[in-house]
Symmetry: C2
Subunit: 576 residues, 2 copies
């Protein structure tokens, strides 16, 4: 061992002891007579002290940032303590100094706030990871994983590893494929999720399965999407939806309690339809109200053509914002008109604290009309009513976005507040305008509600799935469903998705066959683990900070410079 202790653990009670530490030089402060060095490791920082008279003083001065050194010396109480530092009561009077490795000057400062840009930090990720803001995230990630495993193990779930070299059965996203050398012209695929394997494990009688495992999707990358990501993958047999909800609500609560000391309340539940109706999307942020209010009837018939002709007119109420200036309302109008939101415009009603009502459409609406609308919206004196109109789905979505934006501007999306939610009763299918066919909303293995057994033939688009999501603060953490466990139903589903019998048998024959040999009823859920960590630890939705070696938005590992060319011989052996 190169050390007797770590740089994070020395306290007053170690005074007088001879200790050996090893770590990185965070900085050297040469005060002429005295030299101080901050020595850093994963556990903390300890101040080293060299007297000018020490024979080591000269060597100490020569040390550069990020040199790796080993020091032995006596711990003593500091004269001026540093309350910011856990080791701030002590310092080491260094008696021996060994340079274990030198360092070139790092390309950016190894500090919480660094001068390194994204690209540079990714290229030198091993230096970026030395910054405590970054490595703390990963150490916390480990604690989240521990808490998950603790819960799952405790509930009797078996951690079973499923294969990575599987068969290509593209559904939704594109598969990454792996050319086979031993079977030229053939390919393995990397799993988009272990979905079919966990179902086969249920058919095999494993009863309760979980795995924290990597998944792969070759999608066109968007900001904060990674081609490989980690999933907490879970499945149970002989369960109904309620059993799954209870179990995994328990898991989420356990993790928050263990990692953050936060006791979450029981998760409310909301149907997909209500989410859209009241929040404009299927993952509402419940940290604040500001629900969408349908005002179509109240605003119609006043010759304001925009509203009269609109399929849907929706209001939200910004509390205490009646004094917004023209500049502020113009800015909001511009915001909703951006192509990402795509609204045609925004109508405001200011409910003055003096009881007045003013609007941007005073030409069409009397103060009384405005009052009526405000009342319908439960707006109080001092509030601002914002109204959007247009086609139902698009306008709902825009209003949902506007709600989130206002929530952020008004400071209502608090970083210390967690509002979880179960979203239920998703549609089974969604219509794909481009390909002119249905896609599975969750995935093709999701079962539908018994009550909708008729609809599956008459109006499949209206069928509701036995599917459920955990949403926290507007972020979808997980997605699950009760599965189909019967060959005929699974074939029906594939045919709704436009697969011929032959295609279904070629791609999914193994699971269709398995359903003929005593498949139990089963269901499960999968959590995006990177996202889960991001939310639990930072209450932000930014997964890249929670991945040790992430790829950039072009799917490139900047540090490795991958993907890259491969050996010509290897290429030839693969028949490429």
């Amino acid at each position: 061992m190169y050390r007797t202790h770590t740089c994070g653990e020395l306290r007053k009670e170690h005074s007088g002891k001879t200790i050996t530490l090893a770590g990185w030089v965070q900085g050297v402060r040469d005060l002429g007579n005295l030299i101080f060095i901050d020595l850093r490791d994963r556990y903390g920082i300890t101040q080293l002290f060299f007297d000018k008279s020490s024979p080591l003083a000269e060597s100490a001065k020569q040390l550069g940032r990020e040199y790796v050194i080993q020091v032995t010396g006596t711990i003593r109480e500091r004269s001026s303590k540093n309350a910011q530092l856990e080791t701030g009561d002590i310092e080491m009077l260094v008696e021996q100094l060994t340079v274990l490795n030198e360092s070139k000057t790092p390309p950016f400062t190894i500090e919480d706030v660094t001068d390194g840009g994204d690209d540079l930090r990714m290229r030198y990720r091993y230096l970026d990871l030395r910054r405590s803001v970054v490595n703390k995230n990963l150490l916390h990630r480990h604690r989240v994983a521990q808490a998950v495993r603790e819960f799952m193990d405790g509930q009797g779930f078996a951690d079973v590893e499923t294969p990575f070299l599987i068969k290509s059965t593209p559904e939704g996203a594109r598969d990454f494929v792996v050319p086979s050398r031993l079977n030229q012209g053939q390919f393995y695929a990397l799993p988009q999720s272990p979905q079919t394997f966990k179902q086969l494990l249920m058919v095999a009688g494993f009863d309760k399965y979980y795995q924290i495992t990597r998944c792969f999707r070759d999608e066109d990358l968007r900001a904060d999407r990674q081609p490989e990501f980690t999933q907490i993958d879970c499945e149970m047999a002989f369960v109904e939806q309620e059993d799954v909800l209870q179990m995994f609500e328990g898991m989420v609560k356990h993790v928050f309690q263990k990692v953050r000391g936060i006791e979450l309340e029981n998760f409310p539940r909301m149907s997909y339809a209500d989410c859209l109706k009241y929040y404009g999307n299927d993952k509402p942020d419940l940290r604040f109200g500001m629900k969408l209010i349908d005002v179509k009837e109240t605003v119609s018939g006043k010759n304001f053509k925009v509203f009269d002709d609109a399929e849907y007119v929706v209001a939200i109420v910004a509390e205490g914002c009646s004094e917004y200036t023209r500049k502020q309302t113009d800015e909001l109008t511009d915001w909703v008109k951006r192509p990402q939101i795509g609204a045609g415009g925004l109508v405001f009603i200011k409910c003055g604290v003096d009881g007045s009502y003013k609007s941007s459409v005073d030409k069409f609406y009397s103060a009384d009309d405005l009052k009526k609308i405000a009342k319908h919206c439960n707006a109080k004196a001092g509030d601002l009513v914002l109204i959007l109109s247009g086609a139902l789905n698009k306008t709902r979505k825009a209003a949902g976005e506007l709600r989130l934006e206002l929530g952020a501007r008004l400071g209502l999306r608090k970083v210390d507040d967690y509002k979880p939610l179960w979203v239920l009763d998703f549609p089974l299918l969604e219509w794909d305008e481009e390909d002119n066919r249905f896609n599975a909303m969750h995935h093709p293995f999701t079962s539908w509600k018994k009550e909708d057994n008729e609809l599956i033939n008459t109006n499949p688009g209206a069928v509701r799935a036995n599917a459920y999501d955990v949403v926290i603060n507007g972020v979808e953490l997980s997605s699950g469903s009760i599965r189909i466990h019967n060959r005929a139903q699974q074939e029906k589903m594939f045919s709704l998705l436009g697969l011929t019998n032959e295609e279904a048998q070629y791609k999914f024959g193994f699971i269709l066959n398995a359903f003929e040999y005593g498949a139990p009823p089963h269901g499960g859920i999968a959590f995006g683990f990177d996202r889960f960590c991001s939310i639990v630890i930072s209450n932000l939705d930014y997964i890249r900070d929670f991945i040790a070696f992430p790829k950039n938005n072009s799917g490139r590992d900047m540090m490795l410079d991958a993907p890259s060319d491969i050996d010509a011989r290897l290429k030839k052996e693969l028949g490429l």
Copy 2:
């Protein structure tokens, strides 16, 4: 929930209670008046009872093997108990029966001893996994993983996930590669191990890292080799070899204690050179003695040309085997002559219980000569001395194999006996006759012993590495080393391996660069997790039984039928 209890938990004290179970029909015994059904789930088997008078009797008779059913009924004590079964004291008098799913007749019996051949069982792996001998292995595997994590977490190791889509840098085995769609003509590679990443994590200051993770090697498959396998991957900074040995000896002991209740003694240590000398290979099975004895000097000079001309003559002593018949010795001679062993022949000395000495080379050796040889070998009356001769390395290897074979035949390789061992002081390099260059014996990141710093320039083949293996009962469980943490040394190593500076920089620039920014001294180890499970759980070296969905010897998943063709569109998008 489809059940109130599992099929493994009901006991006498549940008598009189109304219980609901769900599971698979293991078998139906129709005794005319009485019908018994064994209901099975992951947890056990419960006997169901139907009286002929029951309205359910007819339905019960119709149930086929592997049907999934739900039953509700009253538990009662059995009249004839079954001591073999944990639930053997009770049975359920069934009052309600629901068929949850039917089953075709399975293609093989779902019993510990089955009539299904390997191929058939692999094709229907989800049924094979229902056999308790198979699923128990995987449930135990989960417990091994738990015990590993418990130990590593407790020792402050952080579980950090490393990427799967990395850069191809073939060393030793071939990489599996993944064509990139977004960067056409370029490829990711799947990791053969997270070696360079764990070293970068040390450079990043993570200090103690572990991960149970998948690795990939595109090798020509041999029996019981899998293209994807799982590794317990570990690394520590600021450590010397002794620290790593202590830590991971502790880990192995912890796992044996937790999973098997076995307290392993402290691991003896043996140099690579001694392993070869005494056991003929670098992974000796220490469950029995029968060491190799160099008898060259003792047997020389008696005009027996075979021995006189041989570089090396080696004996092993089979205790109590002096009465072996001609048939038995001939059989052993044939065994060593097989091409896999490749010996030219075998000489026997029978040390009779009567004090006589007889040999297959009596023409050259007097009874006195034979006695001298036997004495040199410490052979007692009643023992059989077996002698091989030839070139040193080949003959040692053959003698080592013969020793193992005899150990097996004599029942000395006991399944309840565990004899762990650290093998130390491996050579750094091994000469590759085919490519006429050195290969790294462990891997190119392994450091060499300071004492051999001179040799690295004068005689690199003689340099010893800071490398260590855990061997148990003749099986290599893990391999590790103290790493190089200095750019110049790493470059020296690459040049010994025949890489030009440009090649080294292209392939491993990221880690060479990292070593210039304050890399700490570090070392680690990796355990083959599949093999570790196999040894801990069954004391057999057969990994396929411990993998949920293994591939066959051609790297094919028989159930999925993968690898396979891929979608033409996908192929085009990938530019293949």
